[in-house]
Symmetry: C2
Subunit: 116 residues, 2 copies
DNA sequence: CTGTTACATGTGTCTTTTACATGTAGGTAG
DNA sequence: CTACCTACATGTAAAAGACACATGTAACAG
């Protein structure tokens, strides 16, 4: 984005969709497309690329943070339902801690910005 | 990122060093190396690569967000001192607004995380 | 006057992350 | 049939970040 003329400001948190995913999965097992639609509600507007979402889900599964199974019986295209593992839960907790740190850093910045 | 399993968590704000730079320059004109040392104090953690820092500074200047001049007279290596322009000041304000948004999104997330 | 350290500004390049585009396929409504 | 929605997936390019190194000034030690 450091391209002449393009100093657009978004101030997004890096890979924020990851903890959002984990949080949604903590609430209940869900399939990819549903996560895609629910994510903006958690991240508060981050538009998620579905290509990347599926890649992340597969990666999480490879490392044992989520498990998945094909959902049978239901109408419509087959759905792969993901569920959080204990390790995934731990990763979510890690994220929560890191995000608290981020909040503090932003606060510090804003204090300094306003303070004068 | 942190290799093992590649799920390391940092929760950094994208390009946080940019508003930090602008904030420091709002306080007073400064040269690159000094910014490099002052940055962690503002961002509260960001280890900035100096090569990238100088590139960002040049980019900012190309777009008229900062101006620079070679500092003469002083002992030691020549220093290029940067100063914030009106447009740069406006970009900082934009960042501040965006960061407040980030703060709120993180709060929403953490509320949902803790809320149960 | 040689070597070392600190200051100061940069370039080159690789990897990771994100964005955008496209492909496959089942199901539903007109 | 065809258009559209759901659902999952791959390919690839651009952006952002990380890592390594090059250049030069000056102070100070030995």
């Amino acid at each position: 984005m450091v391209r002449p003329g393009h100093w657009g400001v978004r101030a997004r948190v890096e890979r924020f969709s990851e903890p959002a995913l984990l949080l949604l999965l903590r609430e209940r097992p869900t399939h990819g497309y549903e996560l895609l639609e629910a994510l903006p509600g958690v991240t508060g507007e981050a538009r998620v690329d579905m290509g990347n979402l599926y890649r992340v889900l597969r990666g999480l599964e490879e490392d044992g943070l989520v498990t998945s199974r094909w959902e049978a019986g239901e109408p419509g295209p087959a759905k792969r339902t993901y569920e959080l593992t204990v390790e995934g839960r731990r990763l979510l907790d890690e994220w929560a801690g890191a995000l608290q740190g981020s909040r503090e850093r932003i606060d510090t910045f804003l204090d300094r910005y306003e303070g004068r």
